[in-house]
């Protein structure tokens, strides 16, 4: 556990039990080292969407924090994920972001692998190699587990991890609604990628558990009328394993229901959703949440012209360092939507949540400011002499779950910090191997 002692974890847990979090855990190098050992390798991480690898030989390269990953569809149509490194001497194998090819050759010594990971070519095989090289043992190393839900591909480095659907828990109900609603989605274009100042936990929380920031951070979009202002009511839904979702709905069914999606999709919604899900989507304004540790999503309404459009933005917060994150941002659209709507929805995404987006610009400024204020001793002192704990008190011990909310999970009405508190408890559970559980109170 390095410099971190049981005493430190006890103090973190005690703060959490009071609805607080010591600020030092955001950027502490010992926490960061332990997160790389116990949080990321033991959880399911998002690798991509199956539409990104549509045909045999189609591949994308991704990162699970610092592990390079090659996701590729084999000749047999199966999607597999491998460590993107040549097993011979450990060289990064494929340097492209995406493409389609039948084989991957490592330029170092000239070993070649097919799209199913098998070693199919060895340079000078008959001159310099004999029986000591068993080709079957030197294929690409698979990522221990690869599973998918509604076309979303997840991998984990933990061979003993629970199945993906078990890890997602009731989040599957919401993924059915977000991704499965019309029979399938597709990714529009390659993801946007850029590097921001911030801690990954904070960024995850910004989407997953913090609708409170919208009224201030994003006030400019309200001032300009880019963000629709209508009477809505909202819930924050706590799900297992640090996941969560925020649901906002119009009080009355809007004139153009189902998030202003094209009418051609509505019969599909009725076909693919159960009546409770369909009714939720009919009134939905914004659905925003996350799958711990590094995936967030938002399904909003946006537009800079006359009309507003709906899209699904997926975010991976890939931590590079405790104070630095490479953001990956995908735009997904319903496969069955008319092409013109897909194009308009993509443009609405770029204008709002892309790196040039009017919403995105101000978020990144805030995350950078938290990092700027996290480097000093008053924050870093682990004995908390300066009481540098940050505030997750909203609704704590006051707001009760709303039993009338139609979806699964524990739904709190209005603005609360319940998802963040739940996320922190799961994070501490992973970090301490279950030694510090925290109380059950959200």
């Amino acid at each position: 556990m390095g410099a971190l002692q049981a005493e430190h974890f006890r103090k973190i847990r005690e703060a959490m039990d009071r609805g607080l979090l010591p600020q030092w855990v955001l950027t502490d190098p010992d926490v960061w080292a332990l997160e790389q050992e116990r949080v990321f390798p033991r959880t399911w991480q998002f690798l991509g969407h199956e539409s990104e690898v549509p045909v045999p030989g189609a591949f994308v390269t991704r990162w699970m924090v610092h592990d390079p990953v090659l996701v590729v569809r084999g000749e047999d149509g199966e999607i597999r994920a491998f460590l993107n490194a040549c097993p011979h001497r450990g060289t990064l194998l494929c340097t492209a972001d995406a493409g389609t090819q039948a084989a991957f050759t490592c330029p170092y010594h000239g070993w070649t692998f097919d799209a199913q990971g098998a070693l199919i070519g060895v340079a000078l095989a008959h001159q310099v190699w004999g029986t000591e090289l068993c080709r079957a043992e030197w294929g690409l190393k698979p990522i221990p587990r690869l599973e998918r839900y509604q076309g979303l591909l997840f991998g984990t480095l933990d061979p003993a991890a629970p199945p993906l659907v078990e890890y997602l828990g009731a989040m599957t109900w919401y993924l059915d609604l977000l991704v499965g609603r019309s029979g399938g989605m597709e990714v529009w274009g390659p993801p946007h990628r850029w590097v921001v100042a911030g801690n990954w936990k904070l960024l995850y929380e910004n989407f997953t558990g913090d609708p409170y920031h919208v009224q201030s951070t994003h006030r400019s979009t309200v001032e300009l009328g880019i963000t629709p202002q209508r009477v809505v009511r909202g819930w924050q839904v706590v799900l297992p394993h640090g996941h969560g979702i925020n649901v906002t709905q119009y009080l009355e069914v809007p004139e153009r229901p189902y998030q202003r999606t094209p009418e051609a999709l509505w019969p599909r919604f009725r076909e693919h959703l159960n009546p409770v899900q369909e009714e939720l989507l009919r009134r939905a304004a914004v659905l925003v949440g996350g799958i711990f540790p590094t995936l967030s999503f938002v399904s909003p309404l946006h537009g800079t012209g006359e009309d507003l459009y709906n899209f699904l933005n997926l975010r991976v917060w890939r931590p590079l360092a405790p104070d630095r994150v490479e953001v990956w941002s995908w735009c997904l659209v319903d496969r069955a939507a008319p092409e013109a709507y897909k194009r308009a929805a993509y443009k609405a995404y770029v204008d709002s949540f892309g790196p040039s987006g009017t919403l995105e610009q101000d978020d990144t400024e805030m995350w950078a400011r938290v990092m700027q204020a996290s480097r000093g001793w008053m924050v870093r002192d682990k004995t908390l002499n300066y009481n540098n704990v940050i505030n997750y008190l909203m609704g704590f011990g006051r707001v009760e779950p709303d039993p009338t909310f139609p979806g699964p999970g524990t739904a709190y009405p209005g603005f609360v910090d319940a998802v963040s508190r739940s996320t922190h408890r799961f994070w501490l559970h992973l970090l301490t191997d279950g030694a510090e559980e925290g109380s059950g109170e959200a």
Binding site: D97, Q101, H192, E223, P355, Q361, E365, A368
Partner: protein, 166 residues
């Protein structure tokens, strides 16, 4: 290439950079024609044999005059926090090449750009660099930018956002 036209177009690009660096966004908008197309496609890393590494389906910017005006308007409201502490930009423009086009009043202008941004006292400097392919048109005695395609050199941008114009 007529040296006077070339000099006038270079002057336009330098003037544009000056206006942006001094946040004179209203005057900057006047440098564009009403039918301007302002685009910045996404650059990706591809194998050499896979062809162009500029992806035509994905963009950082896909703007019209109206949407550029909207972006400028947003930056001017009080709660555009990204502009609140007046980040300092510097637009460097170089390697200008002017070529005639099929239209007598329009020229194709290639240039290189490097944009640096300093925010507050943060030692991290945001950077964006690449190549511009502009169409510059002579309209009522003035040179204006009728199209801009920005090809950025990084597949992973090292700027915390693209709140600036390029």
């Amino acid at each position: 290439m007529n040296p006077e036209i070339r000099a006038a177009i270079e002057e336009l690009l330098y003037h544009e950079a000056y206006l942006l660096d001094h946040r004179r966004y209203g005057e900057w908008l006047d440098l564009f024609t009403d039918d301007v197309v302002y685009r910045m496609p996404v650059r990706v890393t591809r194998e050499r044999r896979a062809g162009s590494d500029v992806d035509p389906t994905a963009v950082y910017f896909d703007e019209t005059k109206a949407s550029l005006e909207k972006r400028v308007k947003r930056l001017s409201v009080r709660s555009a926090w990204v502009e609140e502490n007046q980040p300092r930009h510097r637009h460097f423009v170089s390697n200008v090449v002017v070529r005639p086009t099929e239209r007598p009043d329009e020229y194709a202008v290639r240039s290189y750009f490097l944009v640096l941004r300093s925010r507050g006292s943060d030692p991290d400097v945001d950077r964006v660099f690449g190549e511009r392919e502009d169409r510059v048109r002579h309209v009522e005695g003035q040179w204006k930018i009728a199209a801009r395609e920005l090809v950025v050199d990084e597949a992973v941008l090292h700027t915390i956002n693209l709140a600036m114009f390029l």
